[in-house]
């Protein structure tokens, strides 16, 4: 059944506003998605009806907020298919999630160990591992991409060995939209590098639906709330329970302890041992509401709609004089990255903004990738479930004007 996009749009209040006197065409979803009313309502309800700190239940409000907060963990666990709720750690976002893992690994890596990342990493999944390797004297190996922006799977396989201690890669590239075949790549990791742990950066993957961590067979999965219709400042680290139970604590303080004396402390149980301090309670509650909203949609419909949007953009792009698509991997989702001959992406973004069309321009927090592609940056339109084919057309109308003005 096809998605009723107008009914979905009606649930996102921001989509009816104007920008520079023009109807907003929001195509910067890879940076952050807009928020459905159900998510906004959950935030308002939390602060209006039950705001209180959690896990300190001497009173009714604290009980209620703890219930909503821990229910949110159950929602996430169900959404990504975690084996238990204790495997869901709240973080501030993908970056923090990856840092918990990379800082833990920095303590475990030995000199001579190898860590694999890919050329398509954004900084959050690159600088973290580069620094962990530096600290431990381990080697960072960067798996190349092919000319079309797909991962070089053959190179990936040949770079795996018994020395491989960790593999970190994105499910979907934020700059190119490439969907990596993570399931089959992880099979190769298991066959060739028995002790390697695998982290999947799901920042761009999770909002397209259908992620089940057990199917992927990864060890860690990281994502942000705000890129999947939830609030900013909240995210998730999922990890296998046995790993998280022993994982080096990264932040110490309240909430994460069992017993404390002046000179010593012991750590509490999962999930709290990795969640020091008062958490982002409303953020967790909001993210759960966003996920529950998203779960009312059919994943196959969502993905078919997003594919139709991208196909339309690619088709119109191929007819657009001077436009070069950046990243043409056979498996792509959500991202249309491009350059227009004789123009700078920043100029394109600016002229589009004047016409109400919001895109992202620049290096997309992936400077080494842009260098690898020989580009100062790209212009990037990124799609979400509430975008329409008309909006893709509006993008190209706006681009035609930009080209006329700039070239």
């Amino acid at each position: 059944m096809a998605l009723d996009v107008q009914a979905i749009r009606a649930q996102f209040p921001i989509l009816s506003r104007e920008v520079n006197g023009k109807p907003l065409v929001y195509l910067d979803n890879a940076a952050t998605t807009q928020k459905p009313q159900a998510m906004i309502d959950a935030l308002v309800s939390f602060y209006t009806e039950c705001n209180s700190n959690v896990h300190r239940g001497a009173h009714a409000l604290s009980d209620e907020s703890t219930r909503r907060y821990e229910h949110a963990r159950d929602v996430v666990a169900g959404f990504i298919g975690a084996a238990s709720r204790e495997e869901v750690i709240w973080t501030s976002g993908t970056t923090e999630s990856i840092n918990i893992v990379s800082k833990g690994m920095a303590q475990r890596l030995q000199a001579g160990d190898e860590v694999l990342v890919t050329e398509m990493e954004h900084h959050a999944n690159l600088v973290t591992w580069q620094q962990a390797c530096k600290a431990a004297g381990a080697r960072l190996l960067v798996v190349p991409i092919l000319a079309n922006g797909a991962l070089d799977a053959d190179a990936f396989v040949t770079m795996l060995s018994e020395k491989t201690a960790f593999v970190a890669m994105p499910q979907v590239s934020n700059a190119l939209g490439t969907v990596n075949p993570v399931r089959s790549l992880i099979k190769e990791v298991r066959a060739r590098s028995p002790r390697a742990l695998v982290l999947i950066d799901g920042a761009q993957g999770v909002a397209h639906g259908g992620v089940k961590v057990a199917d992927l067979d990864c060890d860690f999965y990281a994502f942000s709330g705000h890129k999947m219709f939830g609030p900013t400042g909240v995210g998730v680290l999922w990890g296998r329970r046995a790993l998280l139970a022993e994982w080096p604590v990264w932040l110490t303080g309240g909430e994460m302890i069992a017993e404390v004396s002046y000179q010593d402390a012991t750590w509490g149980a999962l999930p709290h041992r990795l969640e020091a301090g008062t958490p982002h309670i409303s953020g967790a509650v909001g993210l759960a509401a966003a996920i529950e909203w998203f779960q009312t949609l059919d994943v196959a419909d969502v993905q078919a709609h997003e594919k139709a949007l991208l196909d339309r953009a690619v088709a119109l792009g191929s007819e657009f004089k001077g436009l070069r698509l950046v990243g043409a991997a056979p498996e792509k989702i959500g991202v249309f990255s491009f350059v227009i001959e004789g123009t700078h992406p920043a100029d394109i973004g600016f002229i589009l903004d004047k016409q109400g069309v919001a895109i992202r321009t620049g290096d997309h927090c992936a400077q080494p990738l842009m260098k690898r592609l020989g580009l100062p940056g790209t212009a990037r339109a990124s799609f979400s479930v509430y975008n329409t084919l008309d909006e893709v057309d509006a993008l190209f109308t706006a681009l035609a004007k930009a080209r006329d003005m700039l070239v």
């Binding site: 123009t343 700078h344 920043a346 100029d347 002229i351 620049g362 100062p376 940056g377 003005m405």
Partner: protein, 135 residues
């Protein structure tokens, strides 16, 4: 190219009503602004913006300060041309006296020079004023 005086630019932009002709004017200024030779685009002259890079090459002739500026984005080059109309071939005293924020406000372009914009323009203005202040 001889850049128009600030007052001429104000008049021109006032005359151009809609955003398209206003920005076309800025883009055309940007295209007309002399480019820095590729080898002068040295890293030490670079002021890094988030969206685009800008370069500033200052020099002195007696009491007159001259600047060469460049950017890889043409709208930023156009805005730099506005900055140059105010600052280039002026004395340090004239530079320090000139109300650049007021100038951009009068042009209804103040958002481009606001600290929240990552286009390097604010940094260039800061750098020029600093050079003028230290002589």
């Amino acid at each position: 190219m001889k850049l128009p005086e600030p007052s001429e630019i104000v008049d021109d932009l006032e005359f151009l009503g809609d955003w398209e002709s206003r920005y076309q004017y800025i883009i055309d200024l940007g295209k007309a602004l002399p480019k820095l030779p590729e080898d002068a685009r040295a890293d030490e002259l670079k002021v890094k913006g988030c969206q685009s890079d800008v370069w500033l090459l200052p020099s002195h002739q007696g009491d007159v300060m001259t600047f060469q500026v460049d950017s890889d984005a043409v709208i930023v080059r156009g805005l730099l041309a506005l900055v140059m109309s105010a600052y280039n071939e002026k004395s340090p005293a004239e530079i320090l006296q000139f109300d650049i924020d007021g100038f951009f406000k009068e042009l209804d372009l103040e958002r481009h020079i606001s600290p929240t914009r990552g286009n390097g323009l604010r940094a260039i203005v800061g750098k020029i004023r600093e050079l003028a202040a230290t002589g």
